[in-house]
Each structure stands twice: as C-alpha cells, then as structure tokens.
Symmetry: C2
Subunit: 243 residues, 2 copies
C-alpha cells in the first residue's frame, strides 16, 4: 500500500532515482513497504517532523505509516547505516543528533568529494552535459534575480548533483547522496543571507568556468572552496540555534 506523503514535494524529488534501475530491467511497479518507509522517515527528518535526539516510537510510527513493525524496523536499520538514525541496543532508535564537530566533518568530507567529482567531471562530461549545466546555471541566476529561495535551494542541489553525476563515478555518486542526506536538514534550516546568496552564485559561475575550460584541478579547488564556504555559513547558522 502506498504511504501518503506528508512532506514538501520540492524536497522529496530524487534525481538519482533513475540510477536505481534493476539489472533485470524490470520496472518497479509496487515498491516494498520498508523502501517507502525509508524515504518517508528520511523526508520527515529533513522536514523537521522528526528532530535530532527524538526517540522513535515504533508503535506510533507504525500507526502513522500504516505498516507493521517488521518493515519499519528494516527501514530503521537502513537509516542507521546511512547515519540518519542511531540504534541503541535494547533502548530503541533515535534521530541522530549532529554535533557541531560532526557537521563540520560532513561538510569537510562533502567538499572533498564534490571537489573530486568536479575534477573528474571536468575531463569526462560531454558537450551535451555542459549544455545542461549552463542551462541550469541560467535558471539558477534567474531564481536568484527573482529572489525565489525555495526553488533556488532545489535547483542548486540539482546543479551539484549534475556535476557529481558528470564524474561518471558510481561510488562517488552514492557517497555524495548519503552525505547530502545527512546535511540537508541543516542546509534547509540555515538562513541564506543575501550576501551569501550573491557569493554562492558567483562561486558557481567560477566552478562552471573551470569545468568549461576542462581544468580539473581548478574545478576541484573552486568547488572545495565553494562547499567549505557553504559549510561555514550553515555551521554559523545552526550554531546559533543548537550548539
């Protein structure tokens, strides 16, 4: 049975879904309950319906998702592996609380991963890929001009994802998705100042310029700088609310 989504559709769209196709090429018709539960809970965390430190009430969540404990517990195991949930033996599951240090670590890793991806993408992306990237950047600049923060947030993520996909490295793509899942709640929460927004747009342009020149090391350096910068801003923002 399908679980009714209570989350913002803008934040649930998953551009990596296409990569999940089976080797058997059987289109997925009915998804399993645990799979739906995974996405649902993941979204609940990003949406803020489940907050870091919250103990998860299994019977309660079962009622909410209209599923039994078996698929829910399977979902919790997966989310724990992804780092979104903590499983405390004989105590239950709680939403992972990110310390400032962990958040800093995540952004540092993300910066390294995306830097690496950009470096590879610079030499591996096709002309068509570059074309798409340029289109996205135009779209993003228009959203910036229109001050549409929510859509910008979404398109910005899509641009980063496109670059990571441009690396053509399946392992990097997967690692990236996991890291993004863990920081997205904080990124979503962080207030994007006008100054930071302007800077971010400029940094993107710099990264794209390096990619266009097919200068891997330069793209890497600029991407690392960009994400490190984003991390600092997000950290400063969450530091005010939960130190």
């Amino acid at each position: 049975m399908a679980i009714a989504s209570v989350v913002n559709p803008v934040l649930t769209e998953d551009p990596t879904a296409a990569s999940k196709v089976e080797a058997e090429a059987i289109p997925i018709l009915r998804r399993s309950l645990h799979d739906e539960a995974i996405e649902h809970i993941r979204d609940m965390i990003v949406e803020g319906l489940l907050v870091g430190g919250d103990w998860i009430n299994e019977p309660e969540l079962c009622r909410q998702l209209q599923i039994s404990r078996t698929p829910l517990r399977e979902a919790l195991k997966v989310l724990a592996t992804e780092g979104l949930i903590e499983l405390v033996p004989r105590r239950g599951a709680r939403v992972a609380r990110l310390s400032t240090q962990e958040m800093a670590d995540l952004f540092e890793a993300l910066s390294g991963i995306e830097g690496l991806a950009a470096e590879l993408a610079a030499t591996r992306m096709s002309a068509a890929d570059f074309e798409k990237l340029r289109d996205m950047q135009v779209k993003i600049e228009n959203l910036h001009a229109a001050r549409d923060r929510l859509t910008y947030f979404h398109e910005n993520r899509a641009l980063h994802l496109a670059i990571v996909h441009g690396s053509g490295n399946s392992a990097l793509i997967k690692i990236h998705a996991q890291l993004i899942a863990r920081v997205s709640r904080a990124r979503y929460q962080a207030i994007l100042s006008d100054q930071r927004w302007d800077d971010s747009i400029a940094e993107h342009a710099q990264v794209l310029a390096a990619l266009e020149k097919r200068d891997g090391p330069l793209a890497c350096e600029r991407m690392r700088y960009h994400i490190a910068h984003t991390g600092k801003v997000v950290l400063a923002s969450v530091g005010k609310t939960s130190p």
Copy 2:
C-alpha cells in the same frame, strides 16, 4: 546466541570497532543477532564463501547462522545499503557482482578519499600518532623482508586505517570503511607480485615522508598515486579471472 565464526580471524579484526561505542557509554555485552549476522555475512563474502552473483538462500543461511529470518533479513537490508548485497524485489538477495567499471570507480573514489584523509592527517596528527605510524611502517618493512604476505596484507590495511583516522574526520572514516569493505574481497584475491610489493613499500615510505613534513598536498598526491596504482594491479588481476 553467538554465531560461530567460520572465517579467517586475520581478516575479521576491526580496528574501527572502538569508534562504535554508544554515547551512553554502555559497554556492549550482548550483540544483537542481526548485527552478528551482518559481520558474519560480510566476512563470508570476503572469505569467498559467498561469491558475487550468488543468490542468497534465506532458509539455508538461517540454518547455517542458527537464526530466524527476521534478523537475517534486517542484516541483508543493511548489507544492501553498504553495497555488498543486491536486493531484487520479489526475487530475493544476491551477492553484489562488481563489474570492472564498478571496481575501477571504487578504487578511484578510495584514492580520492584516502588522499583527502592524508592531506588532513598531515596537519592534524599528533607527534604520538606519527610515532605509531613509523612503528607500523617498520613492522610492515619487516614483514616485507620476511615475505609474510598474509600478515603484511593485514598490517598494510591497519596503516591505511591509521592515516584515515589521523584525519580526525568521522565522516571520512565511515566512508572509507564502506569502500574498503567492498574492495577487500578483490584485494584479498589479487596476487601481489614481488615487484608490486616492493613498489608498494616504497610508495608507503613516500607518503609517510610527506606526512612527516606535514605537507598535506604532497601527502594527498602521493596517497592518490599509491592507491590508483594498487587499483590498477587489482583490476588487472581480477580482470584475468572474471572480466
């Protein structure tokens, strides 16, 4: 109940286990069945008892591990998240088969991650950490001289782990562990030629020298070169048996 280990203890030792302690500081006395199943199956894959492409017979594995399907299926979900198992809806689980491309991707990612870790470790490791690293290198060189391949294999991995831990970045440490789990079967299988063994020792020395100089970018570059080199050798080796 404890699951009897059928695997080589040399390959099951986990230097990262210490980082798994609970925030509650409750020492883990009884581990859960699904947790033991996870490690057991992971080891079975590295050991070659489960080979890529094999369908997993649930009742059979339940009998082998002396557990019911619930914890086994939970374990399979986790291993699928880690990338060691593929879950095909309504068909079951099978051991992930690594294509040459996926293997190349994994080593490329690993090279980037360890390079990044080395870069950070260069500036963050304490004098005591360096001391430990030097001791490990000496030990490794002795194993090389003694031609003890199995112990070398183990100690080599410990050295790499020590460097990654030296980065002080929890996210990188976790990502690294997952990547290592996926390539270790192939690394274990790959025949280490005398030439490659000599080279590897020399490359380690180069990395350590860069770390001692606290030259992050150089350590990064040398580590990336070293792992890329290892990847090429492993790929060439597995390419002969399963293309």
